[in-house]
């Protein structure tokens, strides 16, 4: 699908104008409280975090997006969270801004009726169209995301992992997550390093490294969804000093407990970190998104010894869950772990050579 005609160019300029930061900021400021200072407990480093589960619904206006994100942040703040974690592909609701998208969506939905996606997706033509749409919307989405979460973080004095967004940079499309601090500053971002197979087919570009952000609430990392399928991600994060991995997901399949267990849960057992998962659920264009937002830890740091500190109890509706993370306890566990070991001689024998073979 070519989106470079005259009408499309004009409409994009209109979207960028509608999403302009001054407009969104002015709108948000009407409902935001005054600036707050981030509260930290003395003594042990403990941090209360919120994992958000958002239900997909198309939004026609960037102001609706700002309001919706505000509502979610307020839910986290009401539960005394100092860190809120949003899902992957958090800009999908903004597809509703495209004229006629609801009709297109309905067409896809009808086409998909009776053949729900079980991990497999639509044909390549539709997929490529989606990539074009993401690229097309990117100049409008990025400033909207930035002003919305910057304003919300500052107003409530909390940290926000704003979820991830398909955004165009240097001609390529990346799946990028963002972290905002309580001063409203953009602390950092992370490009998805491991692509889902369909993203690879769409020719999304991969990130090439992982970043760690030192903050007043601990060392934070922002891997994206599929990054948690591979142990290497969390090993690197642990080596770099991360304490909490903030993971946005948008799992395109019907919910299954065991399939959902394969991501962040085993990773925090192998490499000793806390993990906070924000999830996108619902349906769009006949695609089913499912998941359960949750907060995970090494078995030894969870009351039931099951690796779960908190998890929402629905895989298809909006929800939130909160838990307290004890960073000192994490450090103690790392220093006195019952089974962890390393074997550099073994690793040197096989890595990186094994990775390089086809």
């Amino acid at each position: 699908m070519a989106l470079d005609g005259f009408i499309e160019k004009i409409y994009r300029r209109y979207m960028v104008w509608k999403c302009r930061p001054s407009r969104v900021a002015a709108h948000l400021d009407k409902s935001l409280p005054g600036e707050r200072k981030v509260l930290l407990q003395d003594g042990r480093r403990k941090i209360r975090v919120a994992a958000l589960q958002l239900k997909l619904k198309l939004l026609k206006s960037p102001l609706h997006f700002a309001d919706e994100m505000h509502r979610q942040v307020r839910k986290a703040v009401d539960r005394q969270a100092r860190l809120a974690v949003f899902p992957e592909y958090n800009s999908l609701p903004l597809l509703g801004m495209l004229p006629g998208f609801e009709k297109i969506e309905e067409g896809y939905r009808k086409k998909a009726a009776g053949s729900p996606n079980n991990g497999s997706k639509k044909g390549s033509e539709d997929e490529n169209s989606l990539v074009d749409v993401f690229k097309y919307m990117s100049p409008a989405v990025q400033p909207l995301v930035d002003i919305t979460f910057s304003r919300l973080a500052k107003a409530y004095g909390i940290y926000i992992m704003a979820g991830s967004y398909p955004l165009a940079y240097n001609g390529g499309l990346f799946n990028r997550s963002f972290l905002y601090g309580p001063g409203g500053q953009l602390i950092g971002s992370q490009d998805k390093v491991h692509l889902f197979i369909d993203e690879a087919k769409w020719d999304l570009k991969r990130g090439s490294s992982f970043s760690i952000y030192e903050t007043a609430i601990g060392n934070l990392a922002l891997p994206v969804c599929m990054d948690a399928t591979y142990f290497e991600t969390f090993r690197i994060l642990e080596h770099k000093g991360a304490e909490i991995a903030l993971l946005p997901i948008a799992d395109m399949q019907e919910y299954n407990y065991w399939l959902a267990l394969r991501g962040i849960w085993p990773r925090v057992q192998e490499s000793l970190l806390y993990g906070v998962k924000g999830a996108l659920v619902g349906t769009l264009a006949g695609l089913v998104f499912s998941g359960r937002a949750g907060i995970f830890a090494p078995l030894e740091l969870t009351p039931q010894q099951d690796g779960v500190l908190a998890e929402v109890n629905t895989d298809s509706d909006e929800a939130i869950t909160v838990a307290e993370l004890d960073l000192d306890a994490l450090q103690e566990l790392r220093q006195n772990h019952p089974w962890r070991d390393t074997n550099q001689a073994l690793y040197s024998r096989y890595f990186p050579a094994l990775y390089r073979q086809d």
């Binding site: 065991w258 085993p266 070991d341």
Partner: protein, 285 residues
């Protein structure tokens, strides 16, 4: 192919002969072509038959085995070599402590249907207890051919170190045998964090044997299992078969065509992004 994971629960261990008779009976009944015994099996049989006197604790008994009773290994391995030959199966014979030069290793010997050793695998990551009694780490993770499969072995707590599964997976392992032993006090999640997780991120089969029972005062109790990628197992659970700690064995048939089709559609290991791992594994200069 039928594969079997064993626990040693409910076997008569009072003499090598009785053990052999019961184990072969069990294996015959299962119709298996590949069987796996759990970790610490040589020590358990040695203590049960009186070849290794039990001391006041598991740790002390283990130490005595190392210091004074390693000759028991010859009897133990010969016994399993015979069982493999008699049954015409591949048999991963649980673990022994072996001495080579001045170093001690926690090792699995796997025998082929001719009774010949087809793979020796040493534990590559050790627990603080194992280090404290002087064990050394193995430094290789080879495979053996069991046509049409390539097979590797993961020993004891190596299951909790994902590097082991990745090394085997990237070498092309189709089946990984696990000789495990987990304390009874642990819940099932420690076990799920091991081989189940390794299977899901490498898409091979695993035959997970777990020790069950009392060994010199230490109670072991985890469940035997045959594990596969979630997508090709009942309920997408990742388990083809899963027993209880008191279950003597579980046996399952591997649908290799289904696994290969899954990998063709969803090639997890092809989507690794090794260029991003340079901080972990640098080239030797």
């Amino acid at each position: 192919m039928q594969v079997t994971a064993l626990t040693m629960a409910s076997l008569d261990l009072s003499s090598p002969e009785k053990y052999r008779a019961e184990l072969t009976g069990l294996l015959k009944k299962s119709g298996t072509g590949l069987a796996v015994l759990p970790a610490y099996s040589a020590l358990l049989l040695g203590v049960s038959t009186g070849a290794i006197p039990p001391a006041e604790s598991f740790q002390k008994t283990f130490k005595d085995y190392i210091d004074r009773h390693l000759t028991w290994n010859d009897t133990y391995l010969e016994l399993h070599e015979k069982i493999a030959r008699e049954m015409g199966i591949y048999l991963a014979a649980g673990t022994v402590i072996e001495r080579e030069k001045d170093l001690l290793y926690h090792t699995v010997y796997c025998f082929n249907p001719q009774g010949e050793p087809c793979l020796r695998q040493r534990q590559t990551h050790l627990t603080p207890f194992q280090l404290s009694i002087g064990l050394s780490r193995g430094e290789e993770l080879p495979l053996f051919d069991l046509p049409p499969y390539k097979v590797g072995i993961i020993v004891d707590s190596d299951a909790l170190h994902p590097e082991t599964g990745r090394i085997l997976g990237l070498q092309g392992a189709d089946i990984v045998l696990h000789c495990g032993a987990l304390s009874e006090g642990l819940n099932c999640w420690r076990q799920v964090a091991g081989m189940w997780s390794q299977v899901q991120q490498n898409q091979f089969w695993a035959v997970e044997a777990q020790l069950s029972g009392n060994l010199a005062g230490e109670r072991f109790g985890a469940a035997p299992a045959v594990i596969g990628p979630c997508e090709i197992t009942p309920g997408k659970s990742g388990y083809l078969q899963r027993g209880y700690p008191h279950t003597a064995e579980v046996t399952a048939e591997l649908d290799e065509a289904a696994r290969r089709e899954l990998i063709r559609k969803y090639p997890l290991l092809k989507l690794l992004n090794w260029q991003a791992y340079s901080e972990l594994y640098r080239e030797e200069s």
